[in-house]
Amino acid sequence: MRVEYINPFVESAYNVLREVLNSDVNRGELFLKSTAMPVLGVAAIVGLAGDVEGRVMFDMTRDTAIKIASAMLEAMDMEPISTLNDMGRATINELANMITGQAVTKLHELGFKFDLTPPAILSGENMEISDAGVEALIVPMEVPQGKIEINVAIRERN
């Protein structure tokens, strides 16, 4: 993956998570993967198209998703959730949108132009994701509610 793309995603994930959860965020070692990867339980996927093509996935366990959504809702003086209902999914969607949106804005400033698709949420047991012909950058983020893996697979359009 092009070096210039890495930092905007890492920085915006860090900033947005710290802001919406109002807590410390720890970034793990970045690494690359290209085989099929297990999905932890809840995944929000945002597609990218333009100078590049690919997608960004935010992957976490169901438990972490509920805790993060609750923390975000409580910060807005709303009721926390106990199961992953429509409100919970919408909240995770919003989180994915905020992080990807901020990263793409930074990339626009650097001269790379591309558009986003609305996030889609997948949830279930024993899921895997694989991307033909693209290697994925994994950015692990630790927050008090659990671990979020940000999985960025994008390539230059030839």
Binding site: L32, T35, L137
Partner: protein, 463 residues
């Protein structure tokens, strides 16, 4: 003194075998310091990776060790035997991890959660297994003749698991027989029999050896060196670097005898010293005029308006910029694009904005650089030609087709089977007549695919 104690314990064992002269001979080797001439003819033909368990030193035959590892975050397996620490994902392969201390009923050092633990990955007959130890020490080369039979005094560990005891630099190492340790329960009975027969004919068996080093010994030393390089992650021996390895081995043998050190590697520094001359000229710096001209002379003719090049293993990008400068001049009027990748995040992150000290830029490249506050950098025109990617060569690459592939010294750092896969990938990516440039000390001998082009640079044309 530690050795004296060991000696007292060993002597009855040796004579108990009924061959007193053998015991004396073996001891003679152990006390080589008292007997200069004997020490000189002692041959290093057994290497072991040494480590400690509960404060004692142990060794495992290096041929059984696939790699030295740090284990962290392995997965606990419910209802497994107590010494099974869990399973571990070794680059996609799931292996079991055994805690040797628990297995041998030794006190385990307490680790706070999350600290990586020292361990070895062992290559058994039909599978890989990981073992956790207190601490990895180093690689020790010894003469197999100096290994003495095990003695029942070592009660910590079942005697059947010990293949011998050896003294090296005033330390006593217990050598473990890993194949026997990890045989299945059903085979235990047979293992005990074997251990008994090992007791009767210890590995210390003296055979009258000529003092002269014979060809098979050299072969063995050479294969130890190759294994050692792989163990220390320095280089993987294969047809690609065979010729250099053999020359370097001869040279190394001389260097080491001049400073009176053993040929085998004692530690990582020795392996690093061995491999240092391997790396090509102009590594981690801009290419000098003569290398640039040699590369220019082998560039293929391109009919298309777009010329693509691929530069995996570009590190901080010196190589990619040097190549860009040559290509932009040679293919003037055409659009040149270079895909440059490396899996070292720190190096590749600095590549797009590489700043150089002005005096390190060779005269023929100065026209492509511009000054900045801290030094010089390449002009926007050159930078636009190169796409720096965080990329692992083992994975899929986004490079479409290429006229030139520059991959210097990287192939030799990959496992032999990966080397072949990557070479095939290069072959498929190159256009007909495309050129592959490898490291100064690397060679491709498959003339059905690669035809050598030059004496000055290791360049091959796709056949």
């Amino acid at each position: 003194m530690k050795w004296n104690n060991g000696n007292d314990k060993q002597q009855p064992s040796a004579s108990a075998t009924g061959v007193a002269s053998r015991g004396l001979r073996t001891l003679g080797f152990g006390f080589g310091r008292d007997d200069e001439s004997r020490e000189e003819i002692e041959r290093i033909d057994f290497k072991m990776v040494t480590f400690s368990l509960a404060g004692k030193d142990y060794g495992i035959d290096i041929m059984k060790v696939k790699e030295i590892a740090k284990f962290e975050r392995f997965t606990f397996v419910p209802n497994a035997r107590p010494f099974v620490a869990g399973v571990y994902n070794l680059r996609g392969e799931i292996i079991s991890i055994i805690d040797l201390r628990v297995m041998f009923n030794l006190p385990a050092e307490q680790h706070s959660d999350g600290t990586p633990q020292d361990g070895l990955i062992l290559r058994l007959e039909d599978n890989l297994i990981g073992v956790i130890v207190d601490r990895i020490d180093r690689v020790v080369g010894i003469s197999s003749e100096s290994i003495q039979p095990p003695h029942p005094i070592f009660a910590d560990i079942n005697i059947g698991y010990i293949s011998g005891v050896v003294e090296h630099e005033d330390r006593l190492y217990i050598t473990l027989d890993v194949d026997r340790i990890f045989t299945k329960e059903s085979e235990k009975a047979r293992a005990v029999d074997q251990s008994r027969s090992v007791m009767e004919t210890p590995p210390g068996e003296p055979i009258e050896e000529p003092a002269r080093v014979t060809a098979p010994d050299e072969q063995q030393e050479f294969s130890f060196i190759s294994e050692g390089l792989a163990t220390f992650d320095k280089l993987y021996a294969s047809a690609i670097n065979q010729q250099w390895l053999q020359q370097r081995f001869e040279q190394w043998r001389q260097e080491r005898s001049e400073v009176q050190k053993p040929i085998q590697f004692a530690d990582e520094h020795d392996a690093a010293a061995f491999v240092r001359p391997f790396f090509s000229a102009n590594s981690e710096q801009l290419w000098d005029r003569s290398y640039s001209e040699a590369v220019r002379a082998v560039l293929p003719h391109a009919e298309t308006m777009v010329v693509n090049a691929w530069n995996p293993g570009c590190a901080k990008g010196h190589e990619s910029y040097s190549l860009a400068a040559i290509l932009s001049a040679y293919y003037s009027g055409k659009r040149v694009k270079i895909w440059a990748g490396d899996n070292d995040l720190l190096s590749i992150s600095t590549a797009p904005n590489l700043i150089l000290a002005e005096e390190t830029v060779p005269a023929h490249m100065q026209e492509f650089t511009v000054g900045t506050a801290n030094g010089v950098t390449f002009s926007a025109g050159i930078k636009e030609m190169i796409l720096f990617e965080y990329h692992d060569i083992r994975h899929e690459s986004g490079v479409p087709h290429a006229h030139i592939v520059v991959c210097r010294d990287l192939l030799s750092l990959l496992e032999p089977e990966v080397q072949q896969q990557v070479l095939t990938k290069f072959y498929e990516t190159l256009v007909n007549g495309g050129v592959l440039i490898v490291g100064d000390n690397e060679q491709l001998d498959d003339d059905t695919r690669w035809q050598p082009l030059s004496d000055q640079v290791q360049a091959y044309c796709k056949v």
